[in-house]
């Protein structure tokens, strides 16, 4: 057993976990945050992607103890409010990206991390950042378009003085 305290989507969490438990299962089972998905358990598909201090990690194979004292962001923590989506989510909606939708939390978390480090990604940049995320429904062409669209929306999103800050949904 291990004591675990970390910040999840801006809120402090404290709980006891079995040593070695991957972060994914702590999120999904102990904290009932089910937006982050289980796909492969080996870090091969990206469905479980969350952010550790803003960088993407595969939570299915990341021991929960390692996030002690750190900041974790999941899909549930992206949107600034109930009515306003993150620009990446907004772009996903505009492009009708999801089909079954199961992989999309992980896709979106990878895309957000990409855009935070690279505001104008090229197609090659997108290939590099997104090829760790599998989509069995084959939404890749739309994900690519949505990332380019999100880059446009993000210019407004990250400039709070702009009247169009935030993306109405």
């Amino acid at each position: 057993m291990a004591e675990l305290s970390f910040t999840l989507n801006g809120r402090p969490q404290a709980l006891t976990v079995d040593s070695g438990t991957p972060l994914l299962w702590v999120l999904r089972e102990q904290l009932a945050m089910t937006g982050t998905k289980f796909g492969c358990g080996m870090g091969l598909c990206g469905a479980c992607t969350v952010h550790l201090e803003g960088s993407p990690i595969r939570s299915c194979s990341y021991p929960a103890e390692f996030v002690n004292g750190k900041n974790i962001t999941t899909i549930e923590g992206l949107a600034p409010s109930e009515d306003t989506l993150h620009p990446v989510q907004q772009a996903w909606l505009e492009m009708n990206v999801p089909q079954c939708g199961y992989c999309q939390s992980g896709q979106i978390m990878s895309a957000v991390a990409l855009l935070e480090s690279n505001q104008r990604p090229s197609d090659d940049d997108i290939d590099k950042a997104m090829s760790g995320n599998i989509c069995r429904c084959g939404t890749y062409p739309r994900i690519r378009k949505a990332i380019h669209r999100a880059a446009e929306l993000s210019v407004q999103y990250y400039q709070p003085n702009n009247a169009e800050a935030g993306a109405e949904s």
């Binding site: 009932a32 992206l78 909606l93 999801p98 079954c100």
Partner: protein, 721 residues
């Protein structure tokens, strides 16, 4: 009493593939209460209700697995209710007899039939609700019905508007009209125009609920240890070490598998890894996929098989004979969401929460396994994290119900990716001898002889025990399975009724008896048979020194739908004028009543196939939601590229060798080509789009590889030498 008199199989007619068999479920009452029945709602049919507060609720009788029924079927209802589809509340329907598919006779999502078979009944159900509401408003307002119209959940009239909520108590006393008229296609406001996805917002915020996301109070998590080789059962097990692990509640033998029950998934997995099990070898011990392929090749030489189609006179098959042997391997569905189910078993009821494509079949399977009656079981369907045919099978629901029943706990059963990869019902492996005779430069015959296991034989054998009366002797079930198997239309669909015109045409099927479990995989028999047919057609074009497009057009009738999509795709892709360094390949295929043609552009780099672009033309009748049609073609193409370039499940000693995405790889973003989709304009009723994007891709790609390298690759996945 004879089989035919009992009318066990209502239909074995094939409707363009998919599940072609129906069962007579005589025990079910026709007067079952409608789902989500409410004493205060207007509810004239199983599909729709308007609550006392005016909320319009649609029971979605098809499973949403990405193919778009959540939006498409809601759009059909919205059209007749004259309301924005987004204003309708959609619930996943529980089983009801009225939701049984008129062609398959069970409540099922498959065969790319949802849009086609919902097009009239859902609009009629909505038009009935609309008519009753108008009658109620006419009485309530004392105005002629002709002066009233519906708009976004209200009745609009000369004096203003009236909310549905104010009409429900009157409407509930109104008789349903005996007939309704449907909106004319030229007046459609939403059908053919609506371009949103109603399930998208929840899917981008992570709030959409899949089976694995269901929370049930005090449910324990179970993982199962199954026999390494198919069909084997546990003889004995030692759980001493497992029971000492944190959080473990029970380890028990459940119908030959070992269930490890714990507080959390991780605890169950850790404990499962230290359970020692002695397995009894299953019936497939010793079986390998290589040996099965060799056996099929031998069957093609030694067995005449069953004739499936014959056109023209054999004597017309003149000239030199060409033979080509084609092969495809087993494939896994690999849905992103592994199989799972929550089961709660009480003294007199079972409740299941899961994502499943065929709740009707699952109800019977669970009843059969648990001793409960169908009426005591409820299945609460959820969003499916991919289906592709895998979730037609009820195996994982049955497992969850049995673990819950035997352990005495509410159970969340979770399959690992490894369980999923090794416990699938696979796309059959298949070998085909394609033959033609060529007289000068004229092809005088085209023949296909298939050797493959029968999905239907396995499926009927597996589900007849649950769907047919218990008192029947077991032998009859086997007889039934045998009857179905030897003429399984899925084995040859897409090789027959191609529309191609040659003087003599013939297709035969030899059933292979031995196989690991097989099932319905996105586009079923078409997934391999299009590869065989459209690759060989390309071979014939080359042999007769004709352009592959022109060769096809030369052997199609003037009014062929195939001709129309071919001509369109040739124009759209600039056929015959590839970009410098690139090579084109072409294929066309009809499946599930939809016609699709594709042109693939590739180059060869370091002996590897690089796919640059796929241009796709689809003719699917009226597109209810054109953007979803585009998405299904795009997705089908990516799905098919995975199969054509990477997909192969191999078997050694009765066990699948692949386990996860490192050795059963999926196409990824960096390998995905540009995809351009064009929908042929049509006013005809909608046909399927979930599957038909898949079949033409592999042959179009293989034909492009031939154009680039001169290598005719007759096996999938494609491997350059």
């Amino acid at each position: 009493m004879s089989l035919s008199r009992r009318n066990f199989i209502k239909s074995t007619a094939l409707l363009g593939g998919g599940i072609a068999i129906g069962f007579n479920l005589s025990a079910c009452s026709k007067s079952a209460p409608y789902p989500n029945m409410s004493a205060t709602a207007l509810q004239p049919n199983a599909y729709l209700q308007v609550t006392a507060s005016g909320e319009v609720i649609l029971q979605l009788h098809k499973a949403e697995m990405g193919q778009g029924v959540f939006t498409g079927i809601t759009t059909l209802a919205a059209e007749e209710l004259k309301m924005n589809p987004a204003l309708i509340t959609v619930q996943h329907a529980e089983f009801h007899p009225d939701f049984r598919d008129p062609e398959f006779y069970v409540m099922i999502t498959g065969g790319s039939s949802s849009a086609r078979l919902s097009y009239e009944p859902v609009r009629e159900a909505a038009a009935t609700v609309a008519a009753i509401l108008k009658s109620a408003a006419a009485e309530h307002l004392n105005l002629p019905e002709s002066s009233l119209s519906l708009l976004d959940g209200k009745v609009v009239h000369a004096n203003g508007e009236t909310a549905f909520a104010d009409l429900i108590s009157i409407a509930r006393g109104m008789p349903a009209p005996t007939s309704v008229s449907l909106t004319a296609p030229q007046d459609f406001k939403y059908i053919g125009h609506y371009n949103q996805r109603l399930d998208a917002r929840d899917k981008v915020t992570g709030s959409s609920q899949f089976g694995l996301d269901v929370q049930y109070p005090d449910a324990l998590t179970a993982v199962l240890l199954r026999s390494p080789s198919f069909g084997g059962k546990a003889k004995s097990f030692d759980a001493i070490a497992a029971l000492a692990k944190s959080g473990v509640r029970a380890v028990l033998n459940v119908d030959g598998a070992i269930a490890v029950v714990a507080d959390t998934y991780w605890q169950a997995k850790q404990a499962a890894s230290v359970v020692k099990v002695e397995w009894e070898a299953g019936p497939l011990a010793g079986v390998s996929s290589d040996a099965l392929r060799a056996e099929r090749h031998s069957l093609l030489d030694t067995e005449s098989g069953k004739n499936v189609e014959e056109k023209g006179e054999q004597s017309d098959a003149r000239g030199e004979t060409l033979n080509a042997l084609y092969d495809v391997p087993y494939l896994a569905h690999a849905t992103m969401e592994p199989m799972n189910a929550v089961a709660v078993v009480d003294a007199d009821s079972i409740q299941i929460w899961t994502g499943n494509q065929a709740p009707d079949i699952a109800l019977s399977a669970i009843a059969d396994a648990t001793g409960f009656s169908r009426e005591q079981i409820r299945i609460h369907n959820q969003m499916l994290g991919g289906g592709f045919g895998r979730r037609i099978l009820p195996d994982y629901l049955v497992e969850a119900a049995r673990v819950a029943q035997l352990s005495g706990h509410p159970i969340k059963l979770v399959w690992s990716r490894e369980d999923d990869m090794r416990g699938d019902f696979y796309r059959p492996n298949s070998s085909v001898k394609m033959s033609a005779t060529v007289d000068g430069n004229v092809v005088t015959s085209l023949q296909a002889k298939v050797a493959a296991p029968s999905i239907m034989g396995q499926f009927v054998g597996a589900v007849s025990n649950t769907l047919l009366p218990q008192w029947l002797p077991n032998g009859l079930h086997n007889t039934l399975a045998g009857l179905a198997a030897s003429s399984d239309p899925a084995a040859t669909e897409g090789l027959v009724e191609t529309g191609y015109q040659f003087p003599y045409m013939r297709t035969d099927y030899v059933m292979q008896e031995t196989s690991i479990p097989i099932g319905y995989w996105r586009s079923v028999g078409h997934s391999q048979n299009a590869f065989f047919m459209e690759s060989f057609i390309d071979e014939l074009a080359v042999r007769t020194e004709q352009d592959p497009l022109q060769f096809r057009l030369n052997h199609l009738t003037a009014d062929s739908r195939r001709r129309a999509v071919l001509e369109e795709v040739a124009t759209r892709a600039d056929w015959g004028n590839p970009l410098p360094g690139q090579f084109q390949g072409l294929a066309v295929h009809e499946s599930f009543k939809t016609m699709v043609a594709q042109v693939v552009s590739i180059s060869i780099e370091d002996k590897k196939i690089k796919v640059h672009k796929v241009v796709c033309v689809v003719e699917c009748g009226l597109a209810i939601n054109p953007d979803i049609v585009h998405a299904q073609m795009e997705g089908g193409i990516v799905f098919a590229l995975t199969a054509a370039l990477k997909g192969e499940i191999t078997v050694i000693d009765g066990a699948v060798q692949q386990s996860n995405f490192h050795n059963y790889e999926m196409l990824r973003m960096n390998e995905t080509p540009d995809i351009e989709v064009h929908i042929m304009a049509s006013a005809a009723a909608p046909t399927g789009v979930g599957e038909p994007g898949v079949p033409p891709l592999a042959p179009a790609l293989a034909n492009a590889v031939f154009a680039a390298t001169g290598q005719r690759l007759r096996q999938l996945p494609l491997k350059l030498v």
